[in-house]
Symmetry: C2
Subunit: 220 residues, 2 copies
């Protein structure tokens, strides 16, 4: 049965999943790039984001790689798609990733402002969903066609899906960094009461990796 | 120069440093014992808390052991001393730890309710400080007589001293556990802006250990 997954989501020691002050020059917010030092050098990220050969292997790469396995569709909060808030001033913004984004499957972007789909190179198409998280998940599941749906973030989007009880598994990386402020992943979310528990814990020199799984999969 | 240290302070994946619902049967709050699975089996804790031989060695024990090195006095919030709130009904409560507590130095307990000192076996004496965190630190520093002062907790006490800018170093263990609720260590505290950064990161199979140091010690 297909799953709904969060992968490679990194939080700081003080619990923040994104730094404060995101803008066009700081897609990850202030301090955000420090969060992802475990991921950027990996072979998986080098290939997916930069089309580069090489990169590190080992535990960090293992976790980076599982995030791309068996993913048939993505869901992104609007802030992950870009820095623009409110109505689209024009149709020029096409995401942070250039003409060939690292998704290669349909991507559903949550927004309050309708916009036609954007077909990109490499089989990524951005779809804009104004009907809320349920509609986005329904459409993503259908598009995934039996594969899993990956919820990319940000923290606010993940929290909405956690509260809705539909996320099956989360890989979270804890980075040895203090952000001091920003958006907390678990703000106002009681993940224990919602039925999640830690089923894997392993650390590299750059991050501690945990896998949280919903209890409905306990025997899986 | 003597330092003010926090040691072996454990937080959950969702950032809580103590579980909800502390009472006489649950000194660590609901779920609290799960937090400390990295510490209890270590040689250091077995010896210090239970007077037992044996216990595990390795990274967890190394971090447990550093918490007792060069400590000349402790400061505890009242909830770490016991479950009683408000005025002392009598003088019968003498801490969670029996007649020979694991401190073996003067311990300063923050409270709003005065009480005579309690000399215990093994050189621990509990002193009750009603003048606030500065008075407690002054007295602890004097009692430590050139050694370090360890702030035991709980989260509220540590946050007060963090905001006051007097903590030099914190060892924090992140346990692969969800508590879902309780008291957050970094609630309303911007540790980055206060001048802390991570200077060590290492993980066992049971916890990720980090050392945060204030920037005034950067060259130490």
């Amino acid at each position: 049965m297909p799953r709904v997954r969060v992968e490679s989501f990194t939080v700081s020691l003080d619990g923040y999943g994104a730094g404060p002050g995101q803008d066009i020059d700081n897609p990850l917010g202030a301090g955000g790039p420090e969060l992802h030092q475990w991921a950027f050098p990996t072979r998986t990220f080098q290939r997916a984001l930069f089309g580069a050969d090489g990169g590190t292997t080992g535990l960090d790469d293992e976790f980076a790689a599982r995030g791309f396995e068996n993913v048939g569709a993505w869901i992104l909060g609007r802030n992950m798609f870009g820095p623009i808030r409110g109505p689209w001033p024009d149709l020029n913004w096409r995401g942070w990733w250039g003409e060939n984004p690292p998704y290669h499957v349909p991507v559903f972007v949550l927004t309050h402002h309708a916009r036609p789909p954007i077909p990109m190179e490499g089989d990524t198409t951005f779809h804009f969903v104004t009907g809320g998280i349920e509609e986005a998940l329904d459409r993503a599941r259908e598009a995934a066609n039996g594969m899993d749906v990956r919820i990319g973030g940000g923290p606010h989007t993940i929290r909405q899906y956690l509260r809705a009880g539909v996320i099956d598994e989360l890989h979270i990386a804890v980075a040895p960094v203090l952000l001091g402020g920003g958006e907390r992943l678990f703000e106002g979310v009681d993940a224990r009461a919602l039925g999640y528990k830690c089923v894997r814990f392993a650390a590299s020199e750059k991050a501690a990796h945990v896998v949280l799984r919903h209890e409905r999969w306990e025997d899986a």
